[in-house]
Subunit: 238 residues, 2 copies
Amino acid sequence: METVMSPALFHLHTADLHRKNVVVIDILRATSTICTALHNGAVEIATTATPAEALHFRSQGYLCAAERDGQTVEGFELGNSPQDYTSEKVKGKGIALTTTNGTRCLRMARGAAHVFAGSFLNIDALANFLVHDGRDVMLFCAGWKDRFNLEDTLFAGALAARLTGFESHCDATLAAITLWDKAAANPENFLGQASHAKRFQTLHRESDITVCMRMNSAPVLPLMKEGVLRCMPAGTTA
Amino acid sequence: METVMSPALFHLHTADLHRKNVVVIDILRATSTICTALHNGAVEIATTATPAEALHFRSQGYLCAAERDGQTVEGFELGNSPQDYTSEKVKGKGIALTTTNGTRCLRMARGAAHVFAGSFLNIDALANFLVHDGRDVMLFCAGWKDRFNLEDTLFAGALAARLTGFESHCDATLAAITLWDKAAANPENFLGQASHAKRFQTLHRESDITVCMRMNSAPVLPLMKEGVLRCMPAGTTA
């Protein structure tokens, strides 16, 4: 088990990638949004590198979602707030999504045995799958424009603490577990100090943070294949 | 104030570098060794990129020190254990030093207002200077071959906790302070779990860890200028 604290460190961890299960983590908000959308009945989420590429999906009936620097890009139906992805809007739909950090990391991890989107919303579903599957695990934090961020590493710690049978020689995992240990009693309060939380107070609805910390509120397994996220059916091993 | 957890993230923090005081941190062992050598009377430490370059200094009467992957390079008088740098050996001498991680970071930080080598051995001397000087501070962790490591970030937290007047919008600093808060009662025990500590059990003298955790045992200010570290005299502002 290993924790990658920033996409800028990912290249140090690519040995034997095909043998690993990778969990991509972008708590505020891409991976929380992906869990919410699939839980609310979206059929699939196609990730794209750019907003322009996302718009190509519109003619195929997809909802188009794009966020840059925390804001919905002009001309898009959806941004990156999980609260926008209600079942009224997304049930039965395909979504084309591009975000500042999270979707990029999902694409970087291609080649792994499985690539999942992870968030507090599906933490136990993920932990159950990873323990049952038994492959080595990489916890891949999206961060903010290559910088370390608190919420992603905190989630890595929360998930790592649930993967008790896994061997780890990775200081980043130790640090993440220690941080989670400190924050577990009141993670939302702990995150109140974080840079991203402060950014939210100006850019977004603060309530997004509350929504993104709701444990097991969207217990799906968003599996990435060829750039597209779909729910892995319960009981499968892909 | 900001914390850089790995040299691979340094490029994100170079804006206004000339206005910052940078503390380079390689607890196990380069910056602990540098503090020890200067405290024990070495006149200067010339850092070099390669062992071959360090050997060029021999004809000028320098002691030559080189470490790669934790081991003393063959043909060198000194490696990277602070316990080798006794006053008997180093007093009045110049030393040419190259190490796997620390000396590289000292060279990367050129262009900053001041570049210091920081360790538990000189933590309060550094904190006093930084508070008195008042410039913005970068805590630059050398890590291990670009990977995050526990001991360098732990020290960053210990130093950051002493810099109470400084503004920080940096999640890495928050994480470092939280880790230090958890470890402060028994840092050596906390580090016993770290990857580098485990590497030490096979490669080095374990007692190096004890020596490198001795707070304020070498209260010098190792200032880097043009590739050479010398003690900053007390009371100067360089």
